[in-house]
Amino acid sequence: MILRVEDLAKYFGEVRAVDHITFGIDSGTITSIVGPNGAGKTTLINLISGALKPDSGDIYYNNINIKGMPPYKISKLGIGRSFQIPHIYLNLTTLDNVLVSLYSIKGLTRSMVRDSYSFKDELSRAEAILNMFGLLEKKDMYVYELPHGDRKLLDIAMAFALNPKLVLLDEPTSGVSSREKRRVMKIVDDAIREQGVTALIVEHDMDIVFSYSDKIIVMHQGKIIAEGVPDEIKGDKTVESVLLGGET
Amino acid sequence: MLSTLPLFILNGLFYAATLFLIASGLTIIFSVAGILNLAHGAIFMLGAYLATLTMLTGDIRLIIITFIIVPFIIGLIGLGIERGLIKWVYDRESEYQLLLTYGLSLVLADLVRMMFGPQPISASFLLRESGVIDILGVTYPVYNLIVIVVALFVGLLLWLFLDRTRLGWIVRACSFDREMSSALGVNVGLIYAFTFFLGSALGGLAGALIVPSTVAMLGMDVNALIESFIVIVIGGLGSIRGAFIGSIIVGLVRSFGIYFFPRYELAFIYIIMAVVLLIRPRGLFGREYRRV
């Protein structure tokens, strides 16, 4: 078990965004979290990645309690994350966007004198990652020139550049046209399998969820209401009503 | 100290009164149009100098009209600046807006020198004529009380306007979300222009009000700008209520500080700012600051 969440809770005033939940993720699997808007999915990702501090509970990553750690430490432990709205460095080139993650994980960010492109290992690794995400041709473009789908991919690629054991992907296909969705998810799935990474994905598109997940966690009002392999979830009536009710 | 306590409170409030008027103008422009108007100090100075023109005549009717005419003229100048220059830089990086208004502040301040010359102008007719009253055995000028009351009244009007009128509601809506407002069919450009009119008029009014009890002199713009800026930071950027409370805090701390720590007056306002920011990083009534 690479990640174990125990009795985790986060309240925003009266709102119980995450309400004492417990679950675990096995190494090498893809787990999806589904649920209506406001179910607490993104809050959960934020808690695990360190963006928010939980009110109570524990988060064990490889048996280290990472609860309350700042994000930069958590990412260095091997947890990468992406964002629903891509967080990328708009005025840097695609290559630089990925390189910064690599410098960070290799501890090179204090290097002040050597040219950033003179680190050959990192350069070839960055190009490999860009290649994996289909962005290699655009490596010298400034990021503000990229279309939305590529931005989503880049956002994820930057997380993968950290050489993570676990990635938390917050709606990797949101805002992408339905035709593009399949392509984006295919690339992400390939990357996950190729790198042997464990993934926790928040996703709305149930088709994608059912076809890529090993396990699905259904959240509603901050609680986990169902958990299981895709086939179990598919037949669950309560899940269906929650999801349909939430989606409209 | 005890017998003169009310006096120091009044002194503090008097200082706060003009500071509030300047700061509220600055903060309205900032919150709605998203521009930190570095020329606001020069606007205030221009108001003070313009007011001396009528105040030196000694004609009481003319002088009372001054308090309406001067803000109006200064408001129009603000409007002109907005329509003519600032309109073009809304979508620029905010630093270039700073650069533009900084240039404008130099230009306006120098125009004042060209028009009025370098000598300080003292126009104290009103101060003299309004006389003094006795507060607990201490003499106090009535004019200071007038200034305090006017500032309170203007603050009340501002609050009523922003809170109770449709236009005020629209102005506030613009300050929260520019795109949303324009989507709702509000002519945002017009609102910005109006904001500049209103903000500048407040600065001009402050200038006209302060002139009788002091002098119109070169350099008064620089201090006014930085102090009112700090006031709106203490109060929380974009908040009229914050400007109100902020100016009262600054006024009172200064007033008592002069009594207890006369040698460090120079640093008072920065100390207040540092303390407030350390305790409440977004100011007293600040909401999340966004780059619009």
């Binding site: 910064v100 994980i105 930057m158 | 230009v107 301040a109």
Partner: protein, 325 residues
């Protein structure tokens, strides 16, 4: 063009720096003493603005109190000469670097906890704190009158205006080269990443506050060096060096050139120093003319003079898309 193409790309920087260096060194041959003085001033401003831009242009933090570190450098040198009697510029220079390092480290540590306008204001408050110190510690600093600073000695030679010019020019070229190395190093890229998206930077393992702090220190030291050269140039130091209006000046210098460009602050500084000096000399209504020039620059160059020129050329001749933001 043929010769140009035969030069390998990695030699561009050394060659242009070499040319710049040769130009600066031979400048006294063609220019009057006054122009040498003015260029010294411009280059000192350039060093300062270059340092400022680490923080502003590359890390995205707008400081409104950067006069403090210029002042610290200048006062360190000035007071050590005038009050302690240390005349050796090597020691003075080292002292200025150390004090500006220490003080910017301390203040930077407190300030980077804040962001956006609150960062700007906290730096402003600290700048004014130093202003008040220089103003109030009358017996040491001479208060508002300032202190007259006799010329120091560099390796035993009197550092008059001309020798000072060479020192300034050499330091400028070194610091320019170093700045270029820094902004293109992983460290520099990290700063830019922080500028673009501090949230993301935190999630790729960058301790954002710490790197903002490093950037603050770096720019503080550059400012301190500029100050250390400023004091002997004017042979006088006074509290306005710390004042927020002086801090505003470095911001405006950077903006005039364009803070998105590496050379923006440098050219901004040179343009501003010469513009200001000539305008003030030729009209007594210089605030008007200077203000007008600044306003016009702000209006017609949305990315600063160099930034806009670069965008224009790039749009016109090289790329289908424009550099803009």
């Amino acid at each position: 063009m043929h010769i140009l193409r035969s030069i390998p790309k990695e030699y561009y920087i050394p060659i242009s720096l070499g040319l710049l260096f040769l130009f600066l060194i031979s400048f006294p041959l063609i220019a009057s003493r006054y122009l040498i003085f003015l260029l010294s001033l411009a280059l000192i401003y350039a060093i300062w603005a270059l340092g400022y831009n680490f923080l502003f242009g590359y890390t995205g933090l707008l400081s409104f109190g950067h006069a403090a570190y210029l002042g610290v450098g200048a006062y360190t040198v000035g007071l050590l000469i005038a009050r302690v009697g240390i005349k050796s510029f090597e020691i003075l220079f080292l002292a200025a670097v150390l004090t500006s390092l220490g003080i910017s480290a301390l203040i930077g540590y407190l300030c980077v906890k804040y962001t956006e306008v609150y960062f700007a204001l906290l730096t402003l408050a600290f700048g004014e704190f130093f202003y008040a110190l220089a103003f109030k510690l009358y017996d040491i600093t001479g208060g508002s009158d300032g202190v007259s600073v006799p010329y120091p000695y560099l390796f035993g030679y009197l550092m008059d205006t001309k020798l000072l010019y060479y020192v300034v020019a050499v330091l400028f070229v070194i610091l320019l080269y170093f700045a270029w190395k820094v902004v293109n190093s992983p460290f520099g890229k990290t700063l830019q990443a922080i500028r673009e998206d501090p949230v993301k930077a935190e999630f790729v393992g960058i301790h954002v506050k710490r790197y903002q702090w490093y950037s603050f220190i770096l720019s503080g030291v550059y400012s301190g060096i500029a100050g250390a050269l400023y004091a002997p140039l004017f042979a006088h130091i006074y509290p306005d060096l710390f004042h927020w209006t002086t801090s505003g000046e470095v911001l405006f210098v950077t903006l005039i050139g364009g803070h998105r460009m590496f050379l923006g602050p440098v050219l901004g500084a040179i343009i501003y120093a010469f513009l200001r000096s000539y305008i003030t000399a030729y009209t007594i209504y210089w605030p008007f003319v200077l203000g007008l020039s600044v306003a016009v620059i702000a209006l017609i160059f949305p990315n600063g003079i160099i930034g806009s020129a670069y965008s224009f050329i790039k749009e016109r001749y090289f790329s289908k898309t424009v550099v803009s933001k």
